[in-house]
């Protein structure tokens, strides 16, 4: 869009807007562990968003999408949360340009977007572990997928975005030109520079909705890291699940799956008739019946062993569909209920490649801690992007899902220390417990972000529980930190 010296300002809405109902409801993240009460405003249009912003009080507003952040990023105790999921229209598609681009409202989910684009042979460039996230959320958390080492995170593919700012105006920002600072502060900015209302995203082309996948089972963590270090560049997509329960000789044994997009010629004849068909089986919704200790020694051990041995020792060129390859968990809606009412947290960190020893120590700490995690992901990141709060950096990243139990805080604090020592960081979209001083050590470019935020939102109108916890809010005369 425009590279003009002054960001393009779309005509602002009239001052008088009908009041949107804002019921006080409990909001929590996907981990369900630290809910608070926010006023949830259902936003159907830009006018609604402006109105809700102008009517907010000193507790501020935070944009919210599908609530897949694990922690407290999209909740705002005592303040307002803008539910943007109804702003879910695909506005335009430019399939002829190179690359093709799509312009969407922020509430469009990646699921909806992917389904809409596939028939045109177009592909969403970055898909995280679930398709049930909004485009706005994907930008605000700068999400990454299995192709980070080759294609970067979501922000790398955003051409421009429309941001509703604290002054009540909507501006169009681009990655280059005079709006670049605010653009990159918004990528990974957790909704604290403003509310993303829409974006134009560059797309990839694909012949099929299938992948050619190679699977390898490795005996331990060392074999896994060695294999990944050597072969990853041959694959667009690469990720490993590892066993975080088994100790000793086979610690960190893993199933490594890597693949590339399949061409029509790669498909078996049966699939060639409809190569862009999207297969998304659903196994239903988990009911709210699980007790707190569903994940215990016995179930975690059984699951981990089964998952490991279910995978072939070595297989190449298997054709897998999107759900099999990308999003097995999307088959079960509300799967987070399996952790019971206490909820869980996801700990995801990255450390630079040269700190492989620290990475191994972290893994060892988790495995030996007695805290049990079944959904464990290990991956190599490629280069990061210019966003000051973006999570990915070149290095090893590891993710574990840990049910909330006695002593978990100690384990996470110890991991933090190791991660900080190695020059690494924790992913904010997953975080629900980091302290402000530790966070500061993990994100050395924080001050750049805060400088932009002070400029565009001097009173801290955009605010969230996460912002208060990590002291990302500007001090206001009223005193809120």
């Amino acid at each position: 869009m425009s590279d003009a010296a002054v960001p393009a300002i779309k005509p602002s809405m009239p001052e008088e807007q009908p009041m949107i109902p804002q019921p006080l409801v409990e909001l929590h993240g996907w981990g369900r562990a630290s809910g608070t009460m926010s006023h949830l405003a259902q936003i159907d249009s830009v006018a609604d968003a402006v109105s809700a912003l102008r009517k907010s009080d000193d507790r501020g507003v935070v944009p919210r999408g599908l609530g897949r952040s694990y922690g407290d990023a999209a909740q705002n105790a005592g303040g307002t949360a803008l539910d943007l999921t109804k702003m879910n229209r695909i506005l335009s598609l430019d399939a002829s340009s190179e690359p093709a681009t799509v312009t969407i409202q922020a509430g469009v989910s990646l699921d909806l977007l992917m389904r809409a684009l596939l028939p045109f042979g177009l592909w969403v460039p970055v898909l995280p572990g679930t398709r049930q996230v909004t485009v706005g959320g994907a930008i605000a958390a700068d999400v990454h997928g299995k192709n980070h080492h080759t294609q970067g995170s979501f922000g790398n593919h955003v051409r421009s975005l429309d941001l509703l700012m604290a002054d009540g105006e909507v501006r169009t920002l681009t990655a280059d030109g005079d709006t670049r600072e605010l653009f990159w502060a918004t990528i990974g900015g957790m909704g604290l520079t403003g509310a993303i209302l829409g974006a134009t995203v560059a797309l990839q082309r694909t012949e099929t909705a299938y992948f050619l996948v190679d699977t390898d089972r490795t005996a331990d963590i060392d074999e896994l890291m060695e294999r990944m270090s050597q072969g990853d560049e041959n694959y667009t997509y690469s990720v490993a699940w590892f066993d975080a329960v088994t100790r000793g000789r086979h610690m960190g044994r893993a199933v490594l799956t890597r693949g590339n997009k399949a061409a029509v010629a790669d498909l078996p004849v049966k699939l060639r008739r409809d190569p862009l068909k999207f297969v998304a089986p659903s196994l239903g919704t988990l009911p709210e019946i699980f007790p707190n200790r569903m994940i215990n020694k016995a179930t975690a051990k059984a699951f981990s062993t089964a998952w490991y041995f279910k995978a072939p020792k070595h297989r190449t060129g298997e054709v897998q569909n999107i759900t099999q390859f990308f999003h097995p968990l999307d088959m079960v809606a509300e799967w987070n209920r399996v952790y019971g009412p206490h909820g869980f947290l996801q700990y995801q960190f990255v450390v630079p490649f040269e700190e492989a020893e620290a990475f191994r120590r972290c893994l060892e700490m988790i495995v030996n801690s007695g805290h049990l995690s079944c959904l464990n992901v290990l991956k190599r990141f490629g280069p990061g992007n210019p966003a000051p709060l973006s999570f990915p950096m070149p290095g090893w990243t590891l993710t574990v899902d840990l049910p909330i139990e006695e002593g978990l805080d100690k384990l996470c604090d110890t991991l933090d220390t190791e991660v900080v020592g190695a020059g690494g960081r924790v992913y904010l979209a997953k975080d629900s417990r980091l302290s402000a001083p530790t966070f500061r050590k993990m994100y050395p470019r924080l001050d750049e972000f805060l400088a932009v935020r002070r400029e565009v939102d001097p009173t801290g109108m955009f605010n969230s529980d996460l912002a208060r916890r990590l002291e990302l809010s500007n001090p206001t005369p009223g005193g809120a930190a």
Binding site: L24, E26, G31, A33, S34, G35, T36, M37, S38, R59, G71, D72, A77, G78, G79, G343, L345, I404, L408, D409, C412, D413, S432, R433, L434, S435, A436, P437, D465, R468, R469, G479, A480, A481
Partner: protein, 250 residues
């Protein structure tokens, strides 16, 4: 905000030099925890600041005078000037000599003001703040003495009875706003408040009370006894007929 693993970021201790309040702060202490100590300026307060600071807490001192009602609003205002309060503990109180308390009108008035009037005044002020921030805990240190008031310390007991009822009710009123009130009913606590008194059965230490408070917040309970078995004892005692109750050595 109390984070996903139950660690608060900020504590307000009203009666910040009380043994129980300090035991709670010690157990929660970690690097960066913000603690507001509201108490009368004293050497004890200074000592508490030094201790909590050495544990990594960022401590601020605020003056609190329970009997100066005019000052309460400013105390709360200052306490919240650094941001949201996750857990506010109401821990101040006086025991008084029980036989003097029902004969000396001044002492009776002091007990009523410190143990009842001031706490409900602070309770309302805290309630407003917490309702606006829509999260947080108010921990009200009550006593089993208020559960069934007995002859041996009925002035104190009656103030705690009122206190207890108020905070149970406040908890109900604040439920829908995401704010929790925890009423704690300890038995005999071995602390500076009870020093010199004969120890009662089932006596506990301030540490045990603190432990119970922390567990209760973690599991979102809103009424606890310390030690736990007192709940059973008290539910029995509540129903003992007066002529018999009178004869019990309590």
């Amino acid at each position: 905000m109390i984070n996903a693993v139950g660690a608060p970021q900020s504590l307000l201790l009203l009666g910040g030099t009380s043994d129980i309040a300090l035991a709670i702060a010690r157990k929660y202490s970690r690097s960066g925890l913000r603690v507001v100590l509201a108490a009368r300026a004293s050497d004890r307060r200074t000592a508490a600041v030094i201790e909590l600071t050495s544990l990594g807490c960022e401590v601020t001192e605020v003056d609190l005078d329970a009997r100066d009602h005019e000052s309460h609003a400013a105390t709360i205002e200052q306490a919240f000037s650094g941001g949201d309060i996750d857990i506010a503990v109401i821990a101040f109180g006086v025991l008084g000599n029980p036989e003097q308390a029902w004969r000396d009108p001044e002492l009776a008035l002091e007990l009523a003001e410190v143990n009842y009037t001031a706490p409900i005044h602070f309770g309302v002020l805290l309630g407003q703040r917490m309702q606006a921030q829509a999260h947080g805990w108010i921990v009200a240190l009550s006593s089993v003495a208020g559960e069934r008031v007995r002859r041996s310390n009925f002035v104190y007991g009656s103030t705690k009875a009122g206190f207890d009822g108020f905070f149970l009710g406040l908890g109900e009123a604040l439920r829908d706003y995401g704010v929790h009130v925890l009423v704690v009913r300890p038995g005999f606590v071995k602390s500076k408040m009870t020093s010199g008194l004969d120890e009662a059965p089932l006596a506990v230490t301030p540490d045990q009370v603190a432990e119970t408070v922390i567990d209760a917040i973690k599991s979102k309970r809103e009424l606890v006894w310390v030690p736990g078995p007192l709940r059973v004892v008290m539910s029995g005692l509540r129903h003992v007929p007066r002529p018999l109750f009178r004869k019990l050595p309590l």
